[in-house]
Symmetry: C2
């Protein structure tokens, strides 16, 4: 057997899979942040194009991928399914470990899978400019790549501390021709208000979202783009799992355990959701969503309606959340620091289809270094969480022959400063007590 199971780019899936249709009990609709009534697409039209809103609320199981999107996907898709033979040897396990290598995209992560259709559907409806936020920088790079393909302008509000600590991300965004500024900025009222009160703030994803949304509301030519959480983003990411299913079948394998790291939830949903129909038909599959102990949304949060940002400007989503006021500790080096979780993933946890697992960051970096030395590719800190979970599963009983599949969501070449901190002993583990989460959870809106 070969190490990499490849499909040609003529075999890219022609349709995305929409798991919302199949999840038992379904998904609760988004609510208007003011009236707290269910929101139709027309209410969201000022910030999203109708093409994406139709996907967001679709009752179709499969959604056609436009040819123009397939043409751009072909730059890097299909992605390899790789048997981690060297990691298996290093662990001494009888399990087979496969990973879907999404790091081969031009921007180094799965984020491009949704950035391209988001840019396309905006372009198609005459939108000239997109605004977005980025934390660690993966999404900002992906969207600026995608907008360069469809001739759109793009403005990225990048959390200031990342802007300063990850200058290469900023450079990539500029190379693709987009504009990137540190957030909070003086370009929006939300930014100016924060700066007036906290001139030295390092910024946060919550603030950057507020700026990007305000930007989109304030200009006719501009709409807003989000890189995770929403249904349409998870739907776009389904290409990952659809390809992986086919590749596993080519190798004569079926997955016993499917693993992904969970920040907003889209890379996990992208890999896992296309296996949901098999699960519902009775096939034994364990789905494990891995989150950092320092941001334990699924393991310690509540399933409730909550805002997507600190400023309470977004629709209310029904999801596992730590409260929109939750601020993860600065000790965590990777992404995965969002207070909420994709409603689609939240519903699969609610239905006990997905097992949430929290892991500590030191064990994740240890797993990442082991993986790099075994398989060559240096994983992004986020991806290290999935690797850690795969190692836990593969070593629980070394003689058990399981087939484990995880999503290698991105490489770490632009996150090497996190590895430096790990080697220098500057990173620490962190566990929340329930009492520590009481305050942010108490801030959940009353519905």
């Amino acid at each position: 057997m070969t190490k990499k199971i490849l499909l040609s780019d003529g075999e890219i899936p022609r349709q995305w899979y929409n798991a919302a249709v199949d999840i038992p009990g379904g998904l609760n609709p988004p609510l208007d942040p003011v009236s707290k009534q269910p929101m139709g697409p027309e209410k969201l039209a000022p910030i999203f194009p109708m093409g994406l809103l139709a996907q967001e609320m679709s009752d179709q199981r499969f959604i056609d991928i436009p040819q123009e999107v397939l043409d751009i996907y072909a730059i890097w898709r299909t992605t390899p399914l790789v048997r981690a033979t060297n990691l298996e040897k290093a662990l001494g396990t009888k399990s087979k470990i496969f990973f879907k290598n999404e790091s081969v995209s031009p921007v180094g992560s799965h984020k491009a899978n949704s950035a391209v259709p988001q840019a396309f559907f905006n372009m198609k409806e005459g939108v000239k400019r997109l605004s977005t936020e980025t934390g660690a920088g993966q999404w900002g790079c992906a969207l600026s790549f995608a907008t360069s393909k469809f001739g759109l302008e793009c403005k990225v509000y990048m959390v200031r501390v990342s802007f300063e600590q990850k200058p290469y991300r900023k450079s990539m965004i500029q190379t693709y021709g987009a504009t990137v500024i540190p957030s909070p900025s003086t370009d929006t009222k939300a930014g100016r208000d924060i700066l007036a009160e906290f001139p030295d703030t390092p910024g946060s994803l919550g603030i950057a979202i507020s700026e990007a949304v305000e930007d989109a509301f304030s200009r006719q030519d501009t709409k807003y783009a989000l890189g995770s959480v929403l249904n349409h983003v998870c739907v776009h990411q389904s290409v990952i799992g659809l390809e992986a299913k086919r590749q596993l079948a080519m190798a004569g394998e079926t997955a016993d355990v499917i693993i992904g790291c969970c920040g907003g939830g889209s890379n996990f949903a992208g890999l896992a959701a296309p296996f949901l129909p098999d699960y519902l038909e009775g096939k034994k599959i364990r789905f494990i969503g891995v989150e950092p102990a320092s941001c334990p949304t699924l393991t310690m949060g509540k399933l409730a309606y909550d805002y997507g940002d600190v400023a309470q400007s977004t629709p209310l989503l029904y999801m596992y959340t730590l409260g929109h006021g939750f601020i993860p500790p600065g000790i965590h080096a990777g992404g995965l620091r969002y207070h909420g979780m994709a409603p689609m993933v939240s519903a699969m946890v609610r239905e006990n289809i997905v097992e949430p697992l929290k892991v500590q960051q030191l064990e994740c970096f240890e797993a990442g270094v082991l993986f790099a030395r075994a398989e060559g590719i240096i994983p992004a800190p986020e991806t290290c969480h999935a690797i850690r979970a795969a190692i836990i599963e593969a070593t629980r009983d070394l003689k058990k022959e399981q087939t484990i599949l995880f999503n290698f969501s991105g490489h770490g070449l632009l996150d090497m400063s996190s590895y430096d901190k790990y080697f220098a002993g500057e990173l620490h583990d962190y566990d929340y007590s329930e009492a520590e989460l009481t305050r942010s959870l108490a801030g959940l809106p009353k519905i």
Copy 2:
């Protein structure tokens, strides 16, 4: 037709191609730096293992690739051959442009193709530790990846200015478990001597080579590894061209023009040399070796015996050279700054098989940005030189239907500071007058 032409990893070439056998007029042997007599492998045995020396001086056209090397190659090989359809459209050319994407290796460049067999043949002969130098950092990353695969220790002497300006390269090397220190260092006599005289020196490749060679000579358990120039390195890189030939044939294409950037020469030789037999059988192929105007080895240097390092500690190689004392100007942002050129490439230039071309760095970065926005991948500054030449060929006559193949030797994700300098207007073009090169060329040894 699909955009990417893929081979499975079961189709990795089983043999390397050794162009030295086919180049008309052959190659001149290396000379002992002291006696100036031809050097047999036994004289080089203290610093290289016999397995590599046998390849260095082989009279075999094809050399078997060990299974252990193929197993590691399978992590990223075969690499895709990609039709740059979006670049073609952006240029408005009728030519077809293909690139061989060597940036998909775990370290982001073609360098891994030689690092793996070098580590393997050393391991096989009981060597426990390798020393090497690295300038921009590509080779240091590749060798530390390779030594991690075969359980060797590795010490990398990294040119100090790069060590400080490219901290992510240092972090990668450490993640793979190797040791990296800035050169000149206090760990070698060569380093101490330089530091005593010039305590604030930024270092140079010539100094770092001297340190790494001294390290290997001074320890029984250690040998030295070089990332370009030598025959065995060019031979290892032939996997690039061997795969590309097969992939072009699958697409029903033959290459009219084959392009690579030239620093030490190994990535260019790796792509081009496997097409040499076709050329010698009468097929019309133009081979273009692209170098920076600020280090014009092939276009303004002399074909002569010269040392590989400033300290005159290496064997004398018969090659195009600007003189071992040549120091390229600091304005150049990329690699490709070596004073010499692989004897194999030099001989192909001597025979008028390869056309040398010098290009300026601003036009190269312009080409790199155009490529990034068209094809998504951000090229390394070195690779931008090949892209620039491909664009020149594709746009000389937009209606001419040529098939152009170039080597996408590496991505630029760890070189984004060079793009920053480009966008900030801090990079400049540079041309040497012949008079400026007189002094370093006068330093060539008398043979």
